[in-house]
Amino acid sequence: MIKHLLSGGDLDADTATEILDTAAEMATVAGREIKKLPALRGRTVVNLFYEDSTRTRISFEAAAKRLSADVINFSAKGSSVTKGESLKDTALTLQAMGADAVVVRHPASGAPHRLANWVDGSVVNAGDGTHEHPTQALLDAYTMRARLGRLAGLSVAVVGDVLHSRVARSNVLLLSTLGAKVTLVGPPTLIPVDIAGALAPGTDVSYDLDSVLPNVDVVMMLRVQRERMNDSYFPSAREYARRYGLDGPRMRRLPEHAIVMHPGPMNRGMEITPEVADSPRSTIVEQVTNGVSVRMAVLYLLLGGNNR
């Protein structure tokens, strides 16, 4: 098993599949009356969050607690971080406290890579800047596999602000490793340069959502911040929604079996309409549930829970 999980690219197909299979076992725990395993008893997991992200933090917290780990939540608000302590000094502090794993969310791309140089424990990237969010990609892959029965050969459209999306980067890397085909869809201003060369050679790019929808098994809508229009990435929220939002008529262009995903939090009415978000095709709530199982699997495997 790998020591850190910093990027979707850290995982080969066997390792990724092992995580997904382990997550499926973990999911059975959630159905029990006592939702707890002793696997990480006595181990310490630190949630180090430099950005507000309630949903990701509580997902990791629930995962660690269900494995009986001791969980320390370290958030940037009301901590020494606001007094100007450097990431390195914080890392040395966590090191001195004996953290076995550090789950880090940070607004700067690459911060988890830096952290991994400074602590002995495992580092899990819980989202870094506009770079990656590998456990989100794992839970997305888990959800696709659960709904559609496989990953190899699937056609997945990832739609929206790819440029600023850590979810998109991790998904492209992981899905390509697992044999799915990814098409990135969005206005040209929000598709980063040389994306196929940068991430995975088979990745396609389209600027036309309507032409892509009839041929996909999965459509994953990304959150788009309205403020992007102030930087001229697109003229207005209305025009964005018209060209790249997923509404009822567009959803009906999808094949019968296709599913609709969203990493949350959603901008209802912007990239997705309530009709779509609340439809039976939508996996948005399942994604949250699966997130806990997948993060249990990641912590369990990274911390060597299977070797004890």
Partner: protein
């Protein structure tokens, strides 16, 4: 004053000869010289070059003496074979008045390890809004001739035009940091495959090329001298090539790091590789190397940029851009160009001295020439250890790399500043 007899040394790659240094000048050149009073240096296997001249050095004093001082930077320069450096204006306070440039000049004289020639800011506080008192800096004891807002682009085209015109009165030159600010907001590294993969905001090549294209047209229009700092892209080379072919009075520099390193170094997220302009692609590196050989790029300048540890041991986005360069530049030139001694002398000494108007520098060792020179052992190879550098900072991108060439000695007006590879003072 001690006399020095350097025996059997190759002057700029020529057949071995002896050099006698006395009273601050090269007194004699020829085989079989004898001078009983002189200290003898065995120059067998060594190459003598006119002392190197750096058009682009950040000495950080006044303001960031924790990162570098005029003295520590001067020592680093001497260790790198330099006898003159041009100190950039982005200090704190900014070198935008006669008072500050005279302070830097005086600190350089006191250290007396290299000649420190201050560069003056183009605009007050580097803010890009109003011209600094360029004439007062030119008339000061520091005799400023190069003006630059380096670190910031003089982005306003009208202000750039006025600056280019105004300095004609005292044969000044504007050294432009070519970076269109709107195209590089928040930029962290070269915009391309690697920035996409790393999720770092891209610094597109066009942001440099667009400013250089504009500025060569402005310089042509007003008949002024323009110098382009740290050219980093293949497209910039083409713009410069065309401008020079038309006779525009433009010169250009390239840094050692842009001749050697590429944007793939950012994969580590180690900000020691963060620099502005950023490391580019292998295609750019190849274009810069050939432009340096064919003269479209006139000069290798270090952009020596010391930074305190806490400004580099952090997240990439929060780190300051810049890397050390003075103590490794000659080795990288040797690595990139090979033992082309005349070309190295041209790009690292004669031409930068001419651009900066430093008449005592950039002169090949010959009878009567000022004894500003450096001795290099081209056969030596050394592994760069950050802790061993003379600079007060440690942010070298070449840590643990093995590079060719070693500076054996450096002389400033006949006085050794480096002997046997060690700083004399």
């Amino acid at each position: 004053m001690t006399a020095y007899l350097i025996t059997s040394v190759s002057v700029v790659g020529a057949a071995p000869t002896d050099l006698l240094i006395r009273d601050g000048v090269v007194a004699e050149v020829g085989t079989g010289l004898s001078a009983p009073d002189a200290t003898v240096i065995d120059g067998t296997g060594l190459v003598a070059l006119p002392g190197l001249v750096d058009l682009h050095t950040h000495l950080r004093e006044p303001g960031r003496e924790d990162a570098e001082t005029v003295e520590s930077g001067s020592r680093a320069a001497a260790m790198g074979g330099y006898t003159a450096v041009c100190a950039m204006a982005n200090t704190s306070p900014v070198a935008d008045t006669a008072g500050v440039v005279e302070q830097v000049w005086r600190l350089g004289r006191e250290a007396s390890l290299v000649d420190v020639q201050p560069i003056g800011a183009v605009t007050i506080g580097l803010a890009g809004e109003r011209l600094a008192e360029l004439g007062a800096m030119a008339d000061s004891a520091a005799r400023v001739r190069i003006f630059s807002d380096d670190g910031h682009c003089v982005a306003d085209p009208l202000l750039m035009r006025r600056a280019l015109e105004y300095v004609k009165a005292f044969d000044g030159i504007i050294a432009q940091h070519a970076e269109e600010p709107r195209l590089t907001e928040g930029a962290q590294m070269h915009e391309g495959e690697v920035s996409t993969r790393l999720g770092l905001i891209g610094w597109p090549a066009v942001a440099e090329e667009a400013i250089i294209a504009r500025d060569v047209l402005l310089a042509e229009h007003v008949g002024s001298r323009l110098h382009v700092c740290h050219v980093s892209t293949a497209g910039s080379v083409e713009v410069l090539r065309q401008a020079k072919a038309r006779g525009v009075r433009v010169t250009a520099e390239v840094t050692p790091h842009h001749l050697l390193l590429t944007d793939e170094r950012a994969e580590s997220y180690d900000p020691v590789f963060k620099v502005n302009p950023p490391l580019r692609t292998a295609t750019d590196v190849a274009a810069l190397r050939s432009a340096l050989a064919d003269g479209v790029i006139d000069v290798i300048a270090t952009d020596h940029a010391p930074h305190a540890v806490e400004d580099k041991e952090c997240e990439w986005a929060y780190a300051r851009p810049g890397m050390l360069g003075l103590e490794t530049a000659l080795s990288i030139a040797l690595d990139v160009l090979g033992p082309e001694w005349d070309l190295i002398a041209e790009r690292m000494s004669r031409t930068p001295a001419r651009i900066a108007g430093l008449t005592g520098h950039g002169v090949d060792p010959a009878p009567g020439a000022p004894a500003n020179l450096t001795l290099i052992d081209p056969a030596a190879r050394r592994t760069i250890e950050p802790a061993e550098l003379a600079s007060r900072s440690r942010n070298t991108p070449y840590a643990r790399m093995t590079l060719p060439g070693r500076i054996v000695a450096t002389f400033l007006r006949g006085e050794p500043t480096v002997l046997d590879g060690k700083a004399v003072k």
